[in-house]
């Protein structure tokens, strides 16, 4: 298990920096599209730290798919829950969604649909690669 924890940290550290970059781009777009768009120093600080952690967890969580002792449903459940908690936490901290149950419920619905769509796209792309590689073995 230790090697997976190390791998989680390695992957997380490798991609964590992308979080604040994406947040920066989003804020840049918002500043051009919304008149009088301003952020306080605290908001910027929270956005940088939270998006850094979000990217860290998202990248690190990919290790769940490679833990041999985990069944597929277990690894998917771990992956999904880790990412979900990271996203909800980040969105709430930055007030990107209001702190009420209806908003969180709608966000959860959108999150699950997006997760499933991405999963389908990646899964069928990997399946096509696997089929192609198997042809090379013949």
């Amino acid at each position: 298990m230790k090697k997976y924890v190390i791998e989680f940290l390695k992957r997380g550290m490798a991609f964590a920096g992308f979080g604040p970059v994406v947040a920066g781009v989003v804020y840049l777009v918002l500043s051009y599209s919304i008149e009088d768009f301003t952020l306080s120093g605290l908001q910027v600080f929270v956005a940088i730290i939270s998006t850094y952690l979000l990217a860290f967890i998202q990248a690190g969580a990919s290790i769940f798919n490679q833990i041999e002792s985990f069944s597929v449903p277990k690894s998917m459940a771990c992956h999904l829950s880790f990412i979900y908690v990271a996203y909800v936490g980040c969105y709430l901290l930055n007030s990107w969604i209001p702190f009420n149950w209806l908003a969180i419920l709608i966000f959860t619905g959108i999150f699950l649909v997006t997760y499933l769509v991405i999963w389908f796209v990646v899964y069928f792309s990997v399946k096509a690669t696997s089929k192609n590689f198997n042809k090379g073995l013949i």
Binding site: K3, F64, N65, Q66, E68, V72, S75, M76, H79, W119, V122, Y123, V126, K127, T129, S130, N132, F133, N134, K135, G136, L137
Partner: protein
């Protein structure tokens, strides 16, 4: 493909291939011939075993130690991963940062429900193919 063997004790051993093109089959025969005599020393409970490369299914790193996985057993090696990478013939390909597999020993590739790609060897050993290594694997399979 026709195959002839000429026994001549006075000549150096050599494999000569006549082919109309440099096909994947020809390349595999070449790689096999080049690696057939290469041997590594494997350690198993204090016992030293000579390992011929064509018999090795894959090399893996576990707890910073290198192991050669053969059909039924695994042997500890003294080499570092980078040394192996340099000395191995083209029939070996890195599938992730801690695993190099013998292409001849691959049974199949399989997409997992976790949306990652696994390589399954003929002895049942399974490991994942990292995205970083996909290009090399594709090239090695002549795709």
């Amino acid at each position: 493909m026709k195959c002839s063997i000429i026994i001549d004790k006075n000549k150096d051993e050599e494999v000569l291939i006549y082919s109309r093109e440099n096909s994947p089959t020809v390349r595999r025969i070449k790689e096999f011939a080049e690696s057939a005599d290469t041997e590594l020393k494997g350690y198993d409970d204090g016992e030293i075993v000579k390992l011929a490369l064509p018999d090795v299914f894959c090399f893996i790193v576990e707890d910073n130690k290198i192991y050669a996985i053969c059909e039924k057993k695994r042997y500890r090696l003294k080499q570092r991963m980078y040394q192996l990478t340099e000395m191995l013939p083209e029939s070996f390909v890195k599938v992730n940062q801690s695993c190099i597999v013998n292409v001849e020993k691959i049974s199949r590739f399989e997409a997992t429900l976790g949306a990652s790609l696994n390589v399954i060897l003929k002895n049942g050993y399974k490991d994942y193919v990292s995205r970083r290594c996909m290009k090399d694997v594709k090239e090695r399979l002549s795709l």
